[in-house]
Every structure is written in structure tokens, then in C-alpha cells.
């Protein structure tokens, strides 16, 4: 193990964020995921002769949003370039991208690892279009091409080599996913390919100044794969160095089946992409007013939300962490606090019941059947002492979900769950219980105070759950200790 401990892992990421625009980057084709292959295509996305790109302005707004959130400098003028290469899923034989001067420069994303904040520096963010999808079937001599994805707008976020472990990569990717969801620029779904990343991995001895030779692992579309790929690659590179060899700059593919990385191509036959200015698109000009406008309309950022939940609403780290993880849930909480000010109770209800229910039924949280106003009444019912909390959760809430139009109080009454604070009623019950258990009363009076619970239980049983616990408790103690 010590051999591996001698080395430090250095990772830089290229994260591809597929933008949630209605149409593609340079034409009107739909970007909806999961359609029949080759149905979201047109003359433009097929690269037919005579077609030209038609800029979808939305992608610029999205890029500026992400750039502002990541503290990037927004380029007042940026350019599109062509990246030339041949592949069957690249209809024009070139990809429209930004090479010379991208739209966002610099910036950072804060991540938290082991409770400590780390700022991962961003090198730049550029806009580009996606390629189509190639499907290779071993049983067939042909490959299949789906061009639905060809031309879908992407942002590529390129980091500095600031990450030091697979855990940090995980934290970065989670942070990015959460951020793009908050900003509503991408659904952040890695499984559907909405977010993918290439990892540039190298190792060096601790304390070394120079970075080691790096390898790029392409197209990791799940965090699980990314972690395994990085672990494998780090070990491979250290083993190579320890055996007296050297790491060669390569582009690697990770096979999730075998867990092994293997070269796609090495430096010698690296592509010469022959970048040059895209003559069909004018420079992208972003005015100060435009940036100010996007800034003014920028959604609350996740880390700001987290802080707000803790300080403004006094939630525990645990509760706040759960609520801010998903923008919709956090927003649901914020809305909830407008109709009920018992923030802790609101958070509990969301965390323990509403969110799990929505996940189970695959509903967005906003679609929870019971209105927040009614849920607020539910919390008030408990807070007023009319219904025991456990009773409310177990018996009233299920009925509310079935009959969202019914008021919680009405349900409580129907189910006969209103707790009694009527002293006469309680006194009769308490007297009955004390009379029925003289030896236990003696034991209590001799110091076995734990028996109070037993008496409470007996009273509850007799009241069929309607005895209000606080008053009952007081009355019992008074009688027993008299």
C-alpha cells in the first residue's frame, strides 16, 4: 500500500453539459431525448448541401448563466470555430465549437469534501454542438447512426488540474449537476447523457512540482464508472512508474464490463483538428446590459440556498443538506414556509413524508396531491395539541392524500382523534388507572419513577389515544406524588 501512498493523483475534467433548450444549437429540430432514431433531423442537422447554421440565442443565455454562477469572466466578444474531423456521426465533417476565444473564462466551483470547502478552478467554458450517436453491434457488419443528438447545444466546462481524488471528482460532478439544475440549463441526468465527462488523469510524487504525463479517459457517463476508471488508471500509472516505465500521453476508453482502460489513440496519431474561424457565424457579442440582465434573473445558487436554510430558517445541517440537494425540494420548502412558520415541522414533513411519497410515485414534489395550505393546517393541528403527532402522521396524513379536499381537522374529528384536555375526563381516567394498580403505585412512590410511562400508556389505552399527553403527564405525576 505504501507504494501507492507515495503518489498524488492529479485530475482535470472536461464536463459536457447538454443544454435544456427546446431546439438544437443551429436549427429548429427538437432536442427531446428518447425519440425514434433519426426523427429529430432536418436538412441543417443532416449537413445537407447548401445549409448554414442558424444560431439559437438561448444557448448564449445559458452559457452566461453558468458562467456567472461559476464566477467566470464573460467575454464581451467570443467566436465560433470549426473543429474538423471525419466520423460517421458528424454530418458536416466538422463540429462547430469555440476554440480561440470562448464565452466564459476563469472562475471556480466550490466543492465540499470531508466538511472542508475547496475551490476548483475553471479554465474556461465554451459552447459547441453535440455529434450524433453511433451504435456498434458485434453481430452486424454495420454500425448504426442516430443523428437526433447531432447539433444539440453543449457547454464544455474545462477545469484546471485541481482535483486530487475520485471523491473530489464525485463532489465536483455532484456540485455541477446540482448547479445546472438550479440554473435550469440542464437536467443533469448522467444516465441519459445530459452530463458526461472526460477525465485527464496523471500521478506525481507528493511534493513534486511538475505534473506527470496525463491520460484522458473519454466519455464517462456515470459517476460509478468514473470512480472505477480513475482508480484503475491511477493504479496503472503508478505501477508503470514503479516498474521503471513512463506514462505516455494517450486517449483512453473505459470498459465498464472489464473495468479496464484501453487506448483509443496515442499521441502520434492524435487528430489535427485544423481549427479555424467558423465563417458562417458572426462573433458572439454579449453586452454589459445583457450580462446584468442575466445576473438579475439568476436563480439562487445551491450554496447560497444551503446557507439560507441554516441561518434564515434555523435548520440543522442534516435537514438543510437534504432539502437543498434538489432545487425543486428546496423551493417547495421555501413556499411552505410562507404558509406555516414552524420551519422545523415543515422540513420534517417534507423529508419524512412528502419527498419519499413523491419519489415512490415518481411525482415532482410540486405535484404532491395535498396543497401546502392544507398541509399547514395539518402542522397547526399537531402544534395546537389537538392531535398527537404520531396519530396525525399515521392516520390523518394517509386520508389527506386520498382526499386532498378534506380539512385535517375534519378528518381528525371523523376519526375521533381529537385529544382531550378536559380535566374531569382525564381525572376520571387517571383515578381509574391508579385504583387498578395499587402495587405499582407503591413501587413508584418508593422511587421507581420509570413506571410513569406505564401509567401514561394505561391512560392512553383507556382514552383510545385521545388523552393529550402533556396534561395527562402532569395530572398523573400530581396524583402519584400527592
Amino acid at each position: 500500500m505504501e507504494v501507492y501512498d507515495k503518489y498524488e493523483t492529479v485530475i482535470g475534467l472536461e464536463v459536457h453539459v447538454q443544454l435544456d433548450t427546446v431546439s438544437k444549437a443551429f436549427c429548429g429540430d427538437s432536442t427531446t431525448f428518447g425519440a425514434e432514431p433519426n426523427t429529430h433531423v432536418s436538412s441543417i442537422s443532416l449537413g445537407h448541401p447548401g445549409t448554414l447554421p442558424k444560431l439559437n440565442e438561448r444557448q448564449i443565455e445559458f452559457a452566461v448563466r453558468l458562467g456567472l454562477a461559476l464566477n467566470c469572466e464573460i467575454s464581451p466578444v467570443s467566436y465560433f470555430d470549426r473543429k474538423n474531423y471525419f466520423y460517421a456521426d458528424l454530418p458536416k465533417g466538422y463540429q462547430i465549437t469555440q476554440d480561440r476565444l470562448p464565452i466564459c473564462i476563469g472562475g471556480y466551483l466550490p466543492i465540499w469534501v470531508d466538511g472542508k470547502e475547496k475551490k476548483v478552478r475553471i479554465h474556461h467554458i465554451h459552447m459547441e454542438e453535440d455529434a450524433g450517436k453511433s451504435m456498434h453491434d458485434d453481430a452486424s457488419p454495420y454500425s448504426f447512426i442516430d443523428l437526433n443528438r447531432a447539433g444539440v447545444p453543449l457547454l464544455e466546462v474545462v477545469t484546471e488540474p485541481d482535483l486530487r481524488s475520485a471523491e473530489e471528482v464525485d463532489a465536483f460532478m455532484s456540485g455541477m449537476r446540482q448547479l445546472v439544475q438550479y440554473l435550469e440549463v440542464c437536467d443533469g441526468n448522467m444516465e441519459q447523457g445530459s452530463m458526461r465527462c472526460d477525465c485527464n488523469v496523471s500521478v506525481r510524487l507528493h511534493g513534486a512540482e511538475k505534473y506527470g504525463e496525463r491520460c484522458e479517459i473519454k466519455n464517462l457517463n456515470s459517476m460509478r464508472y468514473a470512480k472505477r476508471a480513475i482508480a484503475y488508471e491511477v493504479k496503472r500509472q503508478i505501477d508503470l512508474l514503479e516498474a521503471g516505465g513512463s506514462v505516455e500521453q494517450q486517449t483512453l476508453n473505459f470498459d465498464p464490463g472489464t473495468g479496464i482502460t484501453s487506448p483509443l489513440r496515442d499521441k502520434e496519431d492524435a487528430h489535427d483538428y485544423r481549427y479555424f474561424p467558423e465563417p458562417d457565424l458572426p462573433p458572439v457579442v454579449v453586452s454589459e446590459e445583457y450580462v446584468a440582465d442575466v445576473q438579475a434573473n439568476l436563480a439562487t445558487l445551491p450554496w447560497v440556498m444551503l446557507e439560507r436554510l441554516k441561518t434564515e430558517f434555523g435548520l440543522s445541517d442534516y435537514d438543510a443538506d437534504i432539502l437543498y440537494g434538489n432545487k425543486e425540494v428546496a423551493q417547495y420548502f421555501l413556499d411552505f414556509t410562507k404558509v406555516n412558520q414552524n420551519y422545523k415541522a415543515c422540513a420534517n414533513l417534507i423529508i419524512n413524508k412528502i419527498n419519499p411519497y413523491c419519489q415512490e410515485h415518481q411525482l415532482s414534489i410540486a405535484a404532491f396531491p395535498v396543497a401546502q395550505k392544507v398541509l399547514a393546517q395539518f402542522i397547526e393541528l399537531i402544534d395546537s395539541g389537538k392531535v398527537a403527532s404520531a396519530m396525525a402522521y399515521q392516520r390523518i396524513l394517509p386520508v389527506m392524500i386520498e382526499h386532498p379536499e378534506k380539512a385535517p381537522l375534519a378528518i381528525a374529528e371523523e376519526l375521533n382523534l381529537i385529544q382531550s384536555t378536559d380535566t374531569n375526563f382525564l381525572e376520571d381516567l387517571v383515578n381509574e388507572v391508579i385504583a387498578a394498580h395499587p402495587d405499582k403505585v407503591k413501587a413508584y412512590q418508593k422511587g421507581k419513577k420509570g413506571l410513569l410511562g406505564f401509567f401514561m400508556g394505561e391512560v392512553m389505552k383507556k382514552s383510545k389515544g385521545k388523552a393529550e399527553p402533556k396534561s395527562t403527564n402532569q395530572l398523573l405525576r400530581h396524583k402519584l406524588e400527592a
Binding site: H48, L52, F86
Partner: protein, 481 residues
């Protein structure tokens, strides 16, 4: 049937009832038939043109005010312009059998004004050439002398107008491909400013140079055609949003102008002495008419061609990448895998000149050569732009020969590409700068072939250029038919 040289005379006869669209189409189809050996057309849409003519005649009969401004205009389009449901091949084998799913914006606008498209015309493959000899469909011949080239790359369109097989024709001009063949064939050839006419539906060669132009017998037809085609287009981000003036209504000219000519051009060693003499005679005549015509220095002339070929081939190498045999067009039957599909389809599909330019363009963009060639050429372009705009601070027009000489013999230039490239020396400047240029007939050489003279003006000043041109062909050098 008379040989019409203006749409207005055709429309007068249509109104008088002495001709009809059907009669016009039949006339032009007969002309096409008679001049078949010139090989001006790649495809003739005979039945369709007749049917459309019938529809238009009926439309006119039922309501004379319902027809468009191009009622009676029978036109042709270069085989690099898309026309929905029709073949478009750029005169290349690689697009054999390909049909476009849409119409070029310019074509669509002409159709909306009731133009009848009679066919698509031959050209150099992917508009690369100055002779029309690189066409997959064989060379087009000059109607003035079928042993001569028509010029290129829009040679088919030039000959189509020259031989009276249509009223006017659309070509494209990347480095002179409208103006040079116009000069070789004795017709008018207009290249508008870059960004004036949408390139959507034009098969790209050099995207930052390409522009759709028009061949016609009259300035008024060129003006009307441009007026209809021009204007911003959401499908081409390089189009200007500048308003399009009614060029055809602005052809009156009664000013005294300041005209510059480049000494380096008029005294260029490649210039035919007789062409030079004709240009000089022209200059004297303009002076006699009260215009100021002055020789100016422009020492960048010899840098234009090299810079132009670096930049256009670079863009072309990328623009032509889409012709890969995967989605449409020619796919090699010999290919066993993806790489071979590319290699063999493109080897079989492209001709020699196109391959030469793809390789040149790929080279100048390659890592390690980019700065020496592409970057350098871009700097030269900016310098030429700047110097040219400076000229227009003091002058209204630049006068220039349209070509160094007259049409040369078929088959004499193809083996020496550099000599052929140098033939563009007087036309490329307009494309480098993005300004409009027009080639006007200037009589005949002693060898019997037409000569052309070119005028250029500042960007988006087509109205001024056309008005001057109209004056020129009426007062200075009347067109002999």
C-alpha cells in the same frame, strides 16, 4: 420570336398579347435544343417549365394584377443552387442523383415573383475553376466561338444568357466566377456585396467569399433580380439587415463621378495589350464626359491571389468534408469499412481540381503551418480591405479589366493551375473585401471575342454601381448584340 434583352420589353409584349409565357418557354427550349453542343445546361426542366408557363398565363388571363414582378422571366440557375425537389450536384460526381429538400432563399424569392426556372446550368466542379472545364458533365463552350472556354466557374450560366436560352441566369462568384465568364461571353455579370444576398442554399466553396450573382443582357434586369433576391435572411447569419433599395427604380444617372484605376492593374504584365488599349480608350471617353478618372497606387495587387487561394481552399477543405458518402451522394461500392468509405467515395467522387484545393486547404490549416499560411493570409486580407476602403474615401468607383485577356482555347489551361489562378487577378479583390463588382461588355477584341470591363464600388452601394453601369452601357460603351 425577337431576342429579348429586357424583362420590361417581354412584359410589354405579354400585356399587348403578342406573346405568352408558354411561347417564351417554347422559344427558349428551342434555343437550348439548338445550342445543345454548347453544353450550358446540366438539366433542363422542359415539361415543368411549360406547365408553370401555362399556369402563369392562365393566372394573368384571370387577373392581370395577380402576377409577380418576374412574370415572363424565364431563367436558369447554376448547379450549385438548391431548388426544392430538383437535383443539385455542383457539377460533381459526388452528388450524382442528389435532390435538394429545400430551395435556396434567393431562388425562393425569385419563384415567389413568378420566375420560371428552365434548367440548371453547368459550371466548374464545386465552382472551382475559371474555365468550366472541371465539370463532371463536360466542358461548356463559348457561344461566340465553341473552340473557346466560356470562363468560369459560372460558365454555363454565362453561355445560357449569351446564347439566348433564358432571359437571365443566377451564378455564384467567389473570386470572379460571375464577372470573368460574363466578360468572356459578352454579357453583364453582377456580383453583389458579401452579405447582400443570402447564401442559404448555395453549395459552399469559400464561405466568407461566396456570393450569388446574376448574368443578364441589361442592367435593369440585373437590378430587378438583385432587388428581389437581396435582403436579410434568418437562415444566413452573414446577411446584412440593411434595407434593400429599389435598385430597378434608381437607374437614372446624371452625376460627375470620381473614378480610380489601379496602375498596377492596367500596367500588369499579364494584361492583353488590346484589352488594355480598350480600357484606356474607355478612360478617355469617361474623362471627355466630365468624369474625373485617375491612376492610383495599389501595390498589394500581387498579394491578392496567393492570399485568396490560401483562404478559400482552407474554407473549402472544411466545407467539402460533408461529402463523405455516408448520408447522401456517391458512395463507393468497393469500400469495406468506414475509412475506406471515406477514402474511396471521395477519391471516386471528386475531380482533380477539387482534390487539389482540398489538399491545399487542409495543408494550410495544419498544425505547424496555420500561422505561416492561414493567419498570414487573413492579415493580408484585412490589409487589402483597409486599403480598398481608403480608396472609396476619395473615389466613387474603381475601374479594372474584368480579365487579363479574352476567352482562351479549350484544354489549354488545365495543366497549369497557377496560370489559371492568376487569371482571377482583377476580380478577386472584390471578394476579398466584400464589395460589389460588375462586369460590362466592352466590345470585341480583334480575335472576335468579347472583352469585359469591371467596376467596383463600396459595400452595399449597389444602387450607385447599377445606375453608373446603366449610364455606361448607354452612353460610354453601348452593347452590341
Amino acid at each position: 420570336m425577337p431576342r429579348y434583352s429586357t424583362l420590361s420589353s417581354i412584359q410589354a409584349d405579354l400585356r399587348a398579347g403578342t406573346t405568352s409565357c408558354v411561347a417564351l418557354v417554347d422559344h427558349y427550349l428551342q434555343q437550348i435544343e439548338e445550342h445543345q453542343q454548347l453544353n450550358a445546361y446540366v438539366e433542363v426542366f422542359a415539361a415543368e417549365a411549360r406547365a408553370k408557363a401555362k399556369v402563369l398565363d392562365d393566372k394573368y388571363q384571370s387577373d392581370a394584377s395577380s402576377v409577380g414582378r418576374l412574370f415572363g422571366a424565364v431563367i436558369s440557375i447554376k448547379d450549385v443552387l438548391c431548388y426544392e425537389g430538383h437535383g443539385v450536384t455542383a457539377a460533381s460526381k459526388i452528388l450524382e442523383g442528389f435532390e435538394s429538400l429545400f430551395s435556396a432563399t434567393a431562388v425562393e424569392r425569385l419563384l415567389a415573383e413568378d420566375a420560371i426556372i428552365i434548367g440548371r446550368t453547368n459550371c466548374d466542379e464545386f465552382a472551382m475553376g475559371s474555365t468550366n472545364e472541371s465539370s463532371y458533365y463536360g466542358v461548356t463552350k463559348n457561344a461566340a466561338d465553341p473552340s473557346k472556354v466560356p470562363g468560369g466557374s459560372s460558365g454555363g450560366s454565362a453561355v445560357a444568357v449569351q446564347a439566348d436560352t433564358c432571359l437571365f441566369s443566377l451564378g455564384t462568384d467567389t473570386g470572379g466566377s460571375v464577372r470573368q465568364p460574363a466578360a468572356f461571353c459578352g454579357v453583364i455579370g453582377l456580383k453583389p456585396s458579401y452579405g447582400r444576398v443570402s447564401r442559404y442554399g448555395l453549395l459552399a466553396y469559400g464561405s466568407s467569399f461566396d456570393q450569388i450573382g446574376v448574368f443578364s443582357h441589361s442592367v435593369e434586369d440585373a437590378a430587378l433580380c438583385l432587388e428581389i433576391m437581396a435582403g436579410s435572411d434568418e437562415f444566413d447569419a452573414s446577411t446584412s439587415t440593411k434595407e434593400v433599395p429599389a435598385y430597378s427604380q434608381m437607374l437614372q444617372f446624371d452625376k460627375k463621378s470620381k473614378i480610380a484605376y489601379l496602375g498596377t492593374a492596367l500596367h500588369h504584365p499579364s494584361l492583353d495589350p488590346e484589352v488594355k488599349a480598350q480600357c484606356q480608350a474607355c478612360i478617355e471617353k469617361l474623362k471627355a464626359e466630365g468624369h474625373e478618372v485617375e491612376e492610383i497606387d495599389f501595390d498589394l495587387l500581387d498579394y491578392i491571389i496567393p492570399a485568396y487561394y490560401v483562404l478559400t481552399t482552407a474554407e473549402a477543405s472544411s466545407n467539402l468534408s460533408r461529402y463523405d458518402g455516408i448520408r447522401y451522394g456517391h458512395r463507393s461500392q468497393q469500400a469495406e469499412n468506414l475509412l475506406e468509405t471515406y477514402q474511396k467515395s471521395r477519391t471516386e467522387g471528386f475531380g482533380k481540381e477539387v482534390k487539389r484545393r482540398i489538399m491545399l486547404g487542409t495543408f494550410v490549416l495544419s498544425a505547424g503551418y496555420y500561422d505561416a499560411y492561414y493567419s498570414k493570409a487573413q492579415k493580408v486580407r484585412r490589409l487589402i480591405q483597409q486599403k480598398t476602403f481608403e480608396i472609396f474615401e476619395s473615389y466613387d468607383y474603381i475601374l479594372m479589366p474584368a480579365a487579363p485577356g479574352t476567352a482562351w482555347d479549350l484544354g489549354t489551361q488545365m495543366d497549369d493551375p497557377v496560370a489559371m489562378y492568376l487569371a482571377d487577378i482583377f476580380t478577386v479583390q472584390a471578394n476579398m473585401v466584400g464589395i460589389p463588382g460588375i462586369s460590362l461588355p466592352l466590345g470585341k477584341h480583334s480575335n472576335g471575342l468579347p472583352i469585359g470591363i469591371q467596376f467596383m464600388t463600396n459595400r452595399f452601394k449597389e444602387a450607385k454601381l447599377l445606375a453608373f453601369s446603366n449610364y455606361f452601357v448607354n452612353k460610354i460603351a453601348p452593347i452590341e448584340e
